[in-house]
Point group: C2
Chain length 238, copies 2
């Protein structure tokens, strides 16, 4: 699918807010883009559409089969896993378990399957980016399911970046840890909020491209907190 001019990347969660931004951005930069999501992104060159009701192993099977078809003899330059979502609730919340279940599926299932894809289809020296959350570096009483799912992703980054990881040689694995992303969904859910502290999606797209260009090189295993003030975003490793 990829040609010498069109580098091949995979965006997991390619129909979400951040994922859609990344698909559009990298398409505009002449990348070939595979999107993995529950929904099709028609901008992508290839879609792998997973079923929400499938089990974790079933989703893995579908994803690996789809990526094998999409890649052919090519390898992936990068896997950007930006699937996720948000739900709140402390231990007294009737919905705590239901929400924790959703958070684990959205953040942990996607990240682990992305790691499996990387083990098979990432090029030597390729990039794997996962998505954590800055608040989950501490306790998150008001969003317990969200916090524990993101903490699991943070620890997975550590596992994928040291020792016998099962990834191709010289793979670079890191996570971005946003506080709040400036998405249409967040603007709707928190109307009237101060959006100057929300991280623009385009900042992330540009940062990821700089990593592929070699202009930026985060440490392997790093957890990159994204702090935005007055519309300016700083990257601060945990």
């Amino acid at each position: 699918m990829a040609t010498a001019d069109n580098k091949l990347i995979l965006i997991y969660g390619g129909k979400g807010a951040l994922g859609s931004c990344l698909v559009t951005y990298f398409k505009s930069k002449q990348f070939s883009v595979i999107s993995v999501d529950l929904f099709e992104n028609t901008e992508a060159d290839k879609n792998i559409t997973l079923k929400q009701t499938d089990s974790w192993v079933e989703q893995e099977t579908e994803a690996l089969k789809g990526v094998a078809d999409a890649c052919g003899d090519s390898k992936l330059e990068a896997i950007f896993c930006v699937a996720g979502g948000w739900a709140g609730g402390n231990a007294a919340s009737h919905d705590m378990v239901k929400n924790a279940d959703l958070m684990v599926k959205q953040s942990v299932w996607s990240s682990v399957i992305a790691a499996r894809i990387a083990s098979k289809f990432l090029k030597v020296g390729g990039v794997v980016q996962l998505t954590g959350a800055q608040p989950a570096t501490k306790g998150t009483a008001f969003m317990m399911g969200y916090g524990l799912a993101k903490a699991a992703v943070h620890q997975l980054v550590a596992s994928l970046s040291s020792g016998d990881t099962g990834l191709p040689d010289k793979a670079l694995v890191f996570a971005i840890l946003p506080v709040t992303l400036d998405t249409p969904g967040n603007r709707k859910a928190m109307s009237g909020a101060d959006t100057s502290t929300w991280t623009p999606l385009l900042f992330i797209a540009e940062y990821l491209e700089k990593i592929l260009d070699g202009a930026e090189k985060p440490g392997n295993g790093s957890l990159l907190q994204l702090f935005t003030e007055e519309g300016k975003t700083s990257i601060v490793p945990v």
Copy 2:
């Protein structure tokens, strides 16, 4: 079910190796013991038997209903959640997702449901103990699913110990973080290993009793690493 003389505690995972030890120990100390597990522990005063094939929410529903029946008008002195298991595998392992799924179910589902039980049935000032893992404080490349599930538990402890947690006032929440427990299963799986560095189950039972007695008082939210050398165990907070 409890009388003035028989304090009521709940052991989640009460038919596992550590759980069975705790049931026996606390029964010998005149506690009334509720066991929540996939299998019945006939030593316990009351069993709540969950179905492995049930969803997280279904297991929660069954557990809450069973604890309501078992508690009646009484409240729980303590919830000891010692459910868990172990499976290995890095990103290249064919079984990585299958094993991660099992680890999340055994460690995360149980811990979150224990938190839900605590929010409804724990007494003011009661104790919630969860079970993490010392290795998961860092990356665990050779057991990725296990590490991420335990890291989720660690973060849940932080969420349950600060802010508006939804737990009763003055609840004490902490986790034990074993390296290797001296269980029959581990002795079988690792025959010939140096068991002098494995933590005896009885040490944990005695330590938990000391907490209920007030003789030991770990900090709220603490992650207690259990390091054993020459059969002697030290407790070292992370």
